[in-house]
């Protein structure tokens, strides 16, 4: 009989993504055993950190095959473990890894999967997942009819609350063949930035066409650093070459969910809004009073970002 919730930990170089820990905290509410699955190389130390958030068990897979995330090895390993230990539910953060790993694993298990969830309700022993469709213009509530139930869930939805435990650590056998190593990850070029990562940031300052050039982003960076914010951009700014692709927020970029989102000189095209509309507080600065971004903003300023932002910086630096 399948039981318990698994949270698949997203980690790189021993650093756990916050969303993984958020899901452990959420899974405690389901009233069943909570286990984390962590795959990597040289990661023994992570079990203690995971235990802080109340996991009952930690399955550790520590092998050179998992040194770099690669779909083939991770999916084969996870599917083999799920067949052996039969969890009722497997949750992933809707991170780059979760988005890629979950469907491949689900297909190996012939299981149903709900991706990009913004809410999970646990009622009468059953999980109901809420997810946006049509770029957030509508939502669907979805149930999974298989064992395991599988889902990927957005970051910054659930709070991190410590509930320290000494989890039972289970070293799982490696169940990966050479054929599973079909992705040769030749290179990982880490983004070098002193700022928090976009998808995990509590504050995001984004610029669009109104930034008018790379200099606009220097100014937005200055504001971001006062908040300890990440810098984001609209597709227009990325396509203009003012800022790198990886900072793009939207359906064609990253989904963010911060406490504060500042949209400066961004018109608010639907594909951008899809990536930021769940932010808790949205500030929009735009010269065009009719800009669509004002439909989703909590505080709108009709004006030129090049005039307003320096004033905001001045006040905050006081």
């Amino acid at each position: 009989m399948a039981k318990g919730t698994w949270v698949v930990i997203d980690q790189r170089d021993g650093k756990i993504r916050k969303v993984s820990l958020e899901l452990i905290c959420k899974a405690r509410e389901f009233g069943d055993e909570v286990a984390a699955v962590v795959m990597g190389s040289g990661i023994e130390g992570l079990a203690a950190e995971i235990g802080k958030y109340g996991a009952d068990k930690v399955y550790v897979v520590d092998d050179a095959k998992f040194a770099q995330y690669n779909t083939g090895a991770y999916a084969a390993q996870l599917a083999a473990m799920a067949k052996k230990y039969e969890p009722a539910t497997i949750l992933f953060g809707h991170s780059a890894m979760g988005k890629d790993l979950a469907p491949r694993t689900a297909q190996k298990l012939e299981a149903g999967l709900v991706t990009d969830c913004t809410a999970v309700e646990f009622d009468g022993g059953k999980l109901t997942f809420t997810r946006p469709i049509y770029a957030g213009k509508a939502f669907a509530k979805v149930n999974v009819d298989t064992a395991p139930v599988m889902a990927t869930i957005r970051a910054n939805i659930y709070d991190l609350t410590e509930a320290p435990k000494s989890p039972e650590v289970i070293k799982a056998d490696v169940a990966v063949s050479d054929a599973d190593m079909y992705q040769n990850v030749k290179e990982f070029i880490a983004t070098v930035s002193s700022r928090p990562e976009l998808t995990e940031a509590n504050y995001v300052v984004s610029g669009g066409r109104g930034a008018k050039g790379p200099e606009g982003f220097v100014m937005l960076g200055e504001l971001a650093d006062i908040f300890g914010a990440a810098v984001g951009a609209s597709r227009a700014a990325v396509d203009s070459g003012w800022i790198d692709n990886q900072y793009q927020v939207g359906q064609t970029g990253k989904v963010v969910n911060p406490i504060l989102y500042v949209a400066a000189g961004i018109s608010g095209a639907i594909q951008h809004v899809a990536g930021m509309s769940s932010s808790k507080n949205i500030v929009a600065i735009n010269k065009d009073p009719e800009a669509a971004i004002f439909n989703v903003s909590d505080f709108g300023i009709v004006g030129d970002m090049h005039a307003v932002i320096p004033e905001v910086i001045k006040l905050l630096k006081k």
């Binding site: 790189r12 890629d100 469907p103 689900a106 709900v114 979805v142 990850v185 990982f188 504060l260 004033e311």
Partner: protein
């Protein structure tokens, strides 16, 4: 090189979403090729132009879906296959349905969009890869082919990855990878003569059930001010500090 491209017909991204009898209504909605799949079609055409070969477009849908296939043919694809499929099939079922056709094509490369603009699931191509026992790489923004190896550049959390996979493989494309062409008048005329095979999709049971749909309540209108910059900045800082208290 034989390239298969899986395309999905979706609502125009600007379409207003309305529920009718508890389901999303398609009344009067303009249908387009999913923009991410359009990128995949363009990528396939550019590879064909460089290396020669054939581009086959596959779509699961109904008679209306032919328009999406015809558009891909007008862009320059050689052949279309329309699979008649249950519109309510979930990602699992759609991947199984597609696999029966795509698996039989003997394609060296299968390109898809990494996500569909309607359901936003990002599942079908990856599931398809698993069913066909092929490598996949998701969300690729640069693809180079060299001696049976696909070198894929993708943005991931915290950086950029460069991944090699051997062909045949499934690669999912990110918008921005290329600039999809508009079909020329000549292309549109030629597309009318290109073959579109129609096949019946098999009935496959879904693994998930959609319990309900809802439209989120319209967001209460926020504050909107139009004052000079120093005053606007002062009001904003006050709001952040004292009203929503997002900063100390």
């Amino acid at each position: 090189m034989k390239i298969a491209v899986c395309v999905k017909q979706t609502f125009d991204t600007e379409a207003k979403i309305v529920l009718k009898d508890g389901k999303v209504s398609d009344d009067g909605v303009n249908l387009i090729i999913n923009p991410y799949d359009e990128t995949a079609v363009e990528e396939a055409l550019q590879i064909k132009e460089k290396q020669g070969g054939e581009v086959v477009v596959v779509s699961a849908g109904n008679d209306k879906t032919q328009d999406a296939i015809r558009q891909a043919l007008a862009m320059g694809a050689d052949k279309g296959i329309l699979i008649n499929a249950d519109p309510n099939a979930d990602e699992y079922a759609r991947a199984v349905i597609l696999s029966k056709v795509v698996g039989g094509l003997g394609a060296d490369l299968i390109l898809c969009g990494h996500v569909a603009a309607d359901d936003g699931s990002s599942q079908v191509p990856t599931r398809l890869a698993e069913i066909l026992n092929l490598p996949h790489v998701n969300v690729v923004n640069k693809l180079e082919l060299n001696g049976g190896v696909a070198t894929c550049t993708r943005e991931t959390d915290g950086g950029t990855e460069i991944i090699d996979v051997k062909l045949p493989a499934i690669i999912t494309c990110q918008v921005g990878m290329n600039e999809p062409r508009y079909p020329s008048m000549k292309g549109i005329m030629q597309a009318k003569k290109k073959p579109v095979d129609k096949v019946a999709g098999e009935a496959v049971a879904s693994k998930v059930t959609i319990a309900s749909y809802f439209i989120p309540p319209a967001k209460a209108a926020g504050k909107k001010i139009e004052v000079d910059a120093p005053e606007a900045a002062a009001q904003l800082v006050n709001w952040m500090k004292n009203e929503v208290r997002v900063i100390g």
